[in-house]
Symmetry: C2
């Protein structure tokens, strides 16, 4: 685990402590597993990665929900599945999600310019339609570069 990752974990631990939530071994493993993934994961994916360490599926589900409520992970629903990603610095970071219908991968699109546009849209919607927006997600689906041809 790199220094940057350790740093993030430390920050997440602080967030949780401030909310009276313990960073148990299982929770740390789940967070680290999410941190090293290059795509979004379902509860079952995490379970497959961690079951050898004796972590049960129910624990994964319970903690993903706990981490979601405490702002550590973001949930993305698409079709019948729910995917999770580390939110890290949620207030600063908006994600765009892309699901490739060919290979099934669910990934982030990182694009600073466009994130800025999306935040503007969100703010405008809030003002124009008399809403309080707590959360939002922009999900696209189609074919990724590899599957396109």
């Amino acid at each position: 685990m790199g220094a940057e990752c350790k740093d993030k974990l430390k920050k997440i631990e602080d967030v949780l402590k401030g909310r009276g939530v313990k960073l148990t071994n299982q929770r740390r493993e789940i967070i680290e597993f999410l941190a090293q993934a290059d795509k979004h994961l379902r509860a079952e994916d995490i379970y497959d990665g961690l079951k050898d360490r004796g972590i049960g599926l129910a624990t994964i589900y319970r903690n993903l929900e706990l981490l979601r409520v405490n702002g550590v992970v973001t949930e993305i629903s698409h079709g019948k599945y729910r995917y999770y990603e580390l939110r890290m610095f949620s207030s600063k970071c908006t994600h765009i999600h892309f699901k490739c219908e060919s290979c099934g991968v669910m990934k982030d699109i990182v694009d600073k310019d466009i994130i800025f546009d999306i935040i503007k849209i969100k703010n405008e919607l809030e003002a124009r339609h008399d809403l309080t927006i707590d959360d939002y997600s922009f999900i696209l689906s189609g074919k990724c570069g590899d599957c396109k041809e």
Copy 2:
């Protein structure tokens, strides 16, 4: 059923015929039920509205999927539920979806200016990230005007 609605139904029927899909009674009822709803519906909502007419839940699910594949309805996943709406003239019409976490309603936000912005974002993402985007949805959640106070 108003004239405008009849017209839309006719157009949908044409689309389906062109794809070799029959407009059965059940399918027409599902489509009409979606057309008259002022919010997005789950399969179960449609079933509740149509079960007295002897339409089974499995038929609803099967046909929602069939209508989705044929471009007649759009599916919106949020948390554990999947909602459906009539797509009507999909290429011309982008929707923004809002779920109120207080009253649970899932609705469209109609806002022509912002839809234009979103389409631009979608096009830009396609070009900049080497993707083919077939579908996309912008889902927001929070509190609606009624629940806000």
